[in-house]
Symmetry: C2
Subunit: 588 residues, 2 copies
Amino acid sequence: MHQAVELFIQDLAVIMLVAGVVTLIFHRFKQPVVLGYIVAGAIIGPHTPPFSLITDQHTIQILAELGVIFLLFSLGLEFSLKKLGKVGATAFVTALAEITLMLWIGYEIGVYFGWKTMDAVFLGAMLAVSSTTIIVKALDELGMKHERFAQLIFGILIVEDVLAIGMIALLSGIATSGSVDAGDAAITIGKLVLFMIVALVLGILIVPRLLDYVARFHSKEMLLVTVLGLCFGFCLLVMKLNYSVALGAFIIGAVMAESRHLYRIEHLIEPIRDMFSAIFFVAIGLLFNPAILAQYWLPITLITLAVVIGKVLSCSLGTFLSGHDGRTSMRVGMGLAQIGEFSFIIAALGVSLKVTSDFLYPTVVAVSAMTTLLTPYLIKLADPLSARLATAMPDKMSAVFGMYSSWLGSLQPQGDRAALSRIIRQILMQVIVNLALVAAVFIVAAYFADSLGRSMASWVADPEIQKAVVWGGALVLSLPFLIATYRKLQALSMLLAEIGVKPELAGSHSRGVRRVIAEVIPVVSIIGIMLMMAALSSRILPPTKLLILVLIGAAGLVLLLWQRLVKLHSKLQIALHETLEQPPDEKK
Amino acid sequence: MHQAVELFIQDLAVIMLVAGVVTLIFHRFKQPVVLGYIVAGAIIGPHTPPFSLITDQHTIQILAELGVIFLLFSLGLEFSLKKLGKVGATAFVTALAEITLMLWIGYEIGVYFGWKTMDAVFLGAMLAVSSTTIIVKALDELGMKHERFAQLIFGILIVEDVLAIGMIALLSGIATSGSVDAGDAAITIGKLVLFMIVALVLGILIVPRLLDYVARFHSKEMLLVTVLGLCFGFCLLVMKLNYSVALGAFIIGAVMAESRHLYRIEHLIEPIRDMFSAIFFVAIGLLFNPAILAQYWLPITLITLAVVIGKVLSCSLGTFLSGHDGRTSMRVGMGLAQIGEFSFIIAALGVSLKVTSDFLYPTVVAVSAMTTLLTPYLIKLADPLSARLATAMPDKMSAVFGMYSSWLGSLQPQGDRAALSRIIRQILMQVIVNLALVAAVFIVAAYFADSLGRSMASWVADPEIQKAVVWGGALVLSLPFLIATYRKLQALSMLLAEIGVKPELAGSHSRGVRRVIAEVIPVVSIIGIMLMMAALSSRILPPTKLLILVLIGAAGLVLLLWQRLVKLHSKLQIALHETLEQPPDEKK
């Protein structure tokens, strides 16, 4: 015990001391601190002379995992549904363009060098996402953090983070199942989206209220313990569901971002994050093998070029195509041209799942180091380059670009139409959230059906009736959300009927046609939903006779309690909105 | 790896979630959070039903050790040489009285119950020191933190902490050597004091300047990494010297307390300390076995009574005897009547050194829980009790107490005499510090003599000459401090001659006698010091012929460079004073 403690403290001392000295040197020469950590790790590590200065690499790797958790938890805290709504289309278009292109380029490079399929897939994933940490530091040092293009970059990074989280979940699935099947992928993504929606909705309903309660005691210590408990607890739940711990940390961070005590939480978590993320980046350096660097210099150079060129092109074009001027687009593209922490997380995932080859990790670390070094210079290069491009461009081409811009502008809905499309979007969003909750109720019920059945075995012996009880219970639980869905769909179809059925065409029947549309759409949809639920819960679906009984009972309940169920749902909805609308307390 | 990470996160989640819920309940009922942690640990632990919720107790215990480091580092940050000077005599008298009495009572209780000698010794040590954490929380909740008696309590706690640190070092020595030898103990204490002086002086010269340099970059992250690096690095050094990690954390904290960036450091360390100290207290609960509680109810009750009565008596009396009124003394005594974190640290030391029996740990935890629960009530009881005592006391006795107070007042040196005694104290202090540095130089030289000898083997083959070189080097290095000592002693003896030799007695010879005294004392002392150095470095002392050569060389050097050496020393002294004098930056 005593021996183990001494070795552990020795490892921590070596990590922090070497990291401190190296990052001081890096900071002195205006290089990012993150690079300093990685170099410190390489110095300490076993692959560089004289020998490994770390006695227990296993424990350090476990602590590094805490670094991932706190890095992503912090990212989640900075994530905000509202912010995401504002940068909207541009961020989605650009991030999607970048990730798709880089996934493909990375995969192709892997195939070109004859690497294993899984290596190629992981390489693509590692190149797909840019580094928030490095960009924030670079923009900070250049004093450009508050310019317009910087805001665009942050929006793109948020979308990238979400997509990357999804990608990590997919990769884990692919790595364990060993194959990429379109249907499986769709199911995986569907489940993931479902899980994220349910976790966010339930989390935002519960967690900020809980934090409010704890914060009333004015004890930093208790707030911290609660935050850490929720964070680790949720990460554990997510790991039990076979998702990555990164996903859990990000979601619970995003949930806490809606708390009034956001700034206080950020303040408490910052030093802990800095401590463990230092260990995380040093641990990356520990795995860095310079011998592999010498052997793989060609792929490293090629991948570095691919990252810079691919990202600059895809991000600049994406930004430009969503309606920004050339200079801004170029700046956005140049700013995003590097890879960082997510690539390491994905690389670590590959190593821990034992599906990637040994050379991949140091290769990606080398590429990240190179692109990180280039980032500030690229950002500075953006303005002269876009000016040069503008003058060098043939007149015809600029005329085409000009036409594109004005065409794009004409596409934006204006006035009434804009308001209408916003309302429709909103209703659709609410329907999706409600259906996700219904689906979650039935999936959870199916998951626990066996143990629920066992626990009621003493009262109800017949397994068929047990099934009926569980299924009926799930149905009752989801009634408020089903009714809400029905009402939203009714409102939507009335709106659509109003717009879609023009009196000029339907003549005197227009009123009747409208009514039919407004009644038929929601009923048809709700039947579709019921079928979907039946499919989701096929494992616990009772036999037809019992099912009909259950459905009749539920129908009776709906008729009896309609008003109450509507009220219950609107209470929940109001609670959710309140939390989302309230601004966080002042910084203190 | 993946499995290990999942289990690790599961353990953390369980610890933080249970700790969060239990401390919330404890806080709700106005009980200290620390107790909540311990109860949470007991619930999680293996000794309570249903079973252990922790999968890897080993890793948790290692993390708990980080809790000890950060707790004592924080205590060190709050420690201040200046503050200690202010509360001065009272704190020393009271703390010494308390620790001596409680050590004795604890030991006797152990002997009474027929426990092993080592159990009795450790029990004494565990009862000796009161709990800073619990007192601060209790006074905070009672709104008494800024009253005069609270300041006295904090002073006593500081002295107790220092004495406890010394006690821990002694206990480690006793536990490993297995015996208590007065001579060995004296040597151990001497070495410890020497180490603390040298570490504090060198630390205060180097560390705040280093932190100033790092703070210039305005990066919280780099400041944190530097602070952690220094903290772990120093703890490692201390562990390599076979002292406890607690000592290291406390000293490096006390060193950083002299930095201008104290508040910033406290701010960064606070959440990290809270996280790991939560783990530490929960880990204490993990070891708690209620079965032992039932079995050892008699000793637990007796020890609890002994702690309360012994501490109230010793601390009240100590405070009263150093010249405070009855009410203040009673409040101080009541406030200090509990045991806490240091008792756990000492208990953990006993467990990790495998010298104490299994029942000791839960016994002490139970006693700490009981006394902690009593603390707020005792503090509230202090005023009525002292009023009751004052009226119930026979007149004669209060007359005696009154006489004591006025006699004590007359003892305090006044006017010139006070100034003189302050100067003499100051000079003696400087002499001690310089001699400690000289001793450290020779001890370090002796320690590294062999490897230094080997490294110069190619130039100097004769081991005798090697010794002479090493010894001579140490002598040259310590010359500035020796010269400073000589000059301070000269000043002191002149002062003493001036006061001590009264013209009425020595008559016309008084001038001559004074001069003789002023010349003789420093020369005799410096010869004594040289002999002491020779004894300290006996292992590397060159043979007489070479020794004389080295001494002649050193004497030549002294004559040549006297001025420069004096200047060098005063520069160091000024640097030290500057650091000690500067106030920390504003809180921000």
